[in-house]
């Protein structure tokens, strides 16, 4: 990739900037290398390319989407990823097992605890460690709180991408309360670094419990109030109904998981299909909807918030006493082997495939992220809709670019 002659920076004339070819035009400057690229980058009659560049007002992060448009209708789209690729898997290969827990936090940064839960479960399988029951209950409790925070944020972003500026403020109030609670428990508002191999880092404390009790008395009404803002809003409902409809067979073919799959009618939830932790002992339903459109995905996540509240309630009532972490040596050397662990995150199945070679660093930590998979489906759902619907569809699939790009 040759750079053309540099030009002076407008800021500082001592600096010469070389042109980066091919970053800013929608069409790549090399001939297409794959069938799909050739098919996509060939313009039909009356079509044009628009680049929805890595920086745009949709707050999902840095995603670049090249839209092929026929007027206002989207004919096809090609997402370009990698603007947030930080090389986490490679860094994890060069870090200790304990260090990888904090390395995987920023992947799906809105729901950090699930990012940690999955590798921790995989390592516990490698080490044959049994987690104390109190630690499991605390994990489920904090995980469900994080799920509610993530879904609350989803509600706000969904409305923000459709143009509503109030619901995001309400969502952030919800999220701030939950996140301050988790900060009292874990010490951090966002990238918690709380789960440890064999348990959790710190026990429940007075600050956390008082905030949690206080919030639980108000939570249901607050959520209903937010819903009252959106669900009966005709613009919101009519924009989202019958948009981006997926049927269950297509969803399985696209390897979708989580609320996106359950909105198509399949009641598949890892907590029930392949139970882990103490979920077999808890009583909760798997909300499912049949329509498979954006509105169904939105309403399903609201239902999941309510189920999460049920789970939190049960956890609080049944919290056992005991240690919060299993006794493990500080230098961990699991015997060579492979382990796979999957958890049900708010976006779908978040799983980790860990290979150990007997040393104190994992040999390979493969992270499977649901947002990455779901973003593939956008190209399937969009043709025929308008540009403004692109944002609605992407928001309803709820991708987090940290997880997409790893």
């Amino acid at each position: 990739m040759t750079a053309t002659a540099g030009r002076q920076s407008a800021d500082d004339p001592r600096v010469t900037l070389d042109e980066q070819v091919g970053v800013f035009e929608p069409v790549p400057p090399y001939p297409p290398r794959t069938e799909r690229e050739a098919e996509f980058y060939t313009l039909g009659d009356g079509e044009m390319f628009i680049n929805m560049g890595p920086q745009h007002p949709s707050t999902h992060g840095v995603l670049r989407v090249v839209l092929k448009l026929d007027g206002e209708k989207v004919v096809d789209l090609d997402p370009v990823l990698g603007y947030l690729h930080r090389g986490v898997e490679k860094l994890c290969e060069n870090a200790d097992y304990h260090q990888t827990i904090s390395q995987v936090d920023p992947l799906e940064y809105v729901s950090s605890l699930f990012n940690e839960w999955s590798p921790v479960m995989a390592y516990e399988k490698l080490l044959d460690v049994e987690v104390p029951r109190r630690a499991e209950y605390i994990r489920v409790l904090s995980g469900e709180l994080n799920r509610i925070a993530s879904h609350a944020l989803f509600m706000g972003w969904m409305a923000l991408d459709l143009g509503g500026l109030t619901p995001i403020l309400w969502s952030f109030i919800e999220r701030d309360e939950i996140v301050e609670m988790l900060a009292a428990l874990t010490g951090q508002r966002m990238l918690f670094n709380y789960f440890r191999i064999g348990g959790v880092n710190g026990d429940l404390n007075h600050d956390f419990m008082s905030r949690l009790g206080d919030w639980m008395t108000r939570a249901a009404e607050q959520i209903d109030a937010s819903l009252g803002l959106l669900n009966s809003n005709e613009i919101f409902v009519r924009r989202m109904r019958d948009l981006g409809t997926i049927d269950s067979q297509t969803a399985l073919r696209m390897c979708m998981t989580g609320p996106n799959l359950r909105a198509t009618g399949l009641p598949f939830d890892i907590r029930r299909a392949h139970p882990y932790s103490i979920y077999p002992e808890l009583d909760f339903d798997i909300p499912t909807r049949n329509e498979g459109d954006c509105l169904a995905r939105y309403l399903l996540r609201i239902d999941e918030i309510k189920q999460s509240l049920r789970i939190i309630d049960q956890c609080l009532h049944r919290m056992p006493d005991g240690p919060i972490i299993a006794k493990l040596p500080r230098l961990l050397r699991p015997r060579p082997g492979r382990a796979y662990a999957a958890v049900e995150g708010p976006r779908g199945q978040y799983s980790v495939y860990a290979i150990s070679d007997g040393t104190d660093q994992p040999f390979r930590l493969r992270i499977h992220d649901p947002s990455f998979i779901h973003l593939q489906s956008v190209g399937l759902l969009m043709p025929g809709h308008l540009i403004a619907d692109t944002m609605a569809v992407m928001a309803s699939l709820d991708p987090i670019m940290g997880g997409v790009d790893k």
Binding site: M1, G22, Y30, E35, R36, K90, R253, G337, S351
Partner: protein, 182 residues
């Protein structure tokens, strides 16, 4: 650990295995050669008694000696995860048939394996780089791709100041000599 399932899968695919069927915790692992991937996965997907319609993960692995592609599948007939390892790919030109004919969602996962390892998936209509810029020439997750501060441990690296060791434990005779000579 589903022993019944293990016997069923051994009976069904015994001629394709290149290694023993292993079970640990809640996972069952089978190893096949790369050429058998479409047949085995199609059978797993289509057979009404196996029903592995849910592809959970597609990963590339570089063991340093060979490359592997690892598929994780789930079905409602067994409580275990099924791990299919397509083993024995040569490190210089790893090629595996693609499974996008069964699961379209595997397309991006295969793109990622290509981007990170260089594994070519034959039949994937869109095998281009997904994370790294399109003109990037290396494959980052390979074991011979060293991070900058590991370059000091690699055979030819450790030239830049950032790659030089800073602590006495890291310094070896080779790097000390290189520093003296440069």
């Amino acid at each position: 650990m589903d022993r019944l399932f293990r016997r069923r899968v051994e009976a069904r695919f015994a001629d394709r295995f290149t290694g023993p069927v292993r079970q640990r915790h809640d996972e069952t692992e089978i190893r096949i050669g790369p050429a058998d991937v479409p047949d085995v996965l199609r059978t797993l997907h289509d057979d009404p008694e196996l029903r592995f319609t849910y592809l959970s993960d597609l990963a590339g692995v570089d063991t340093g000696v060979v490359m592997q592609v690892v598929y994780h599948l789930w079905s409602d007939v067994t409580p275990d995860w099924l791990r299919v390892i397509a083993d024995g790919l040569p490190r210089d030109d790893p090629r595996v048939p693609s499974v996008t004919f069964l699961w379209k969602g595997a397309e991006w996962m295969e793109r990622e394996a290509y981007d990170m390892f260089g594994i070519t998936f034959e039949g994937n209509r869109d095998l281009r780089r997904i994370y790294m810029p399109p003109d990037y020439t290396s494959f980052p997750l390979r074991k011979d791709f060293y991070l900058a501060d590991d370059a000091a441990r690699s055979p030819g690296g450790g030239v830049r100041p950032m790659e030089q060791p800073h602590t006495p434990q890291e310094a070896t005779v080779a790097t000390a000599l290189r520093r003296i000579r440069s």
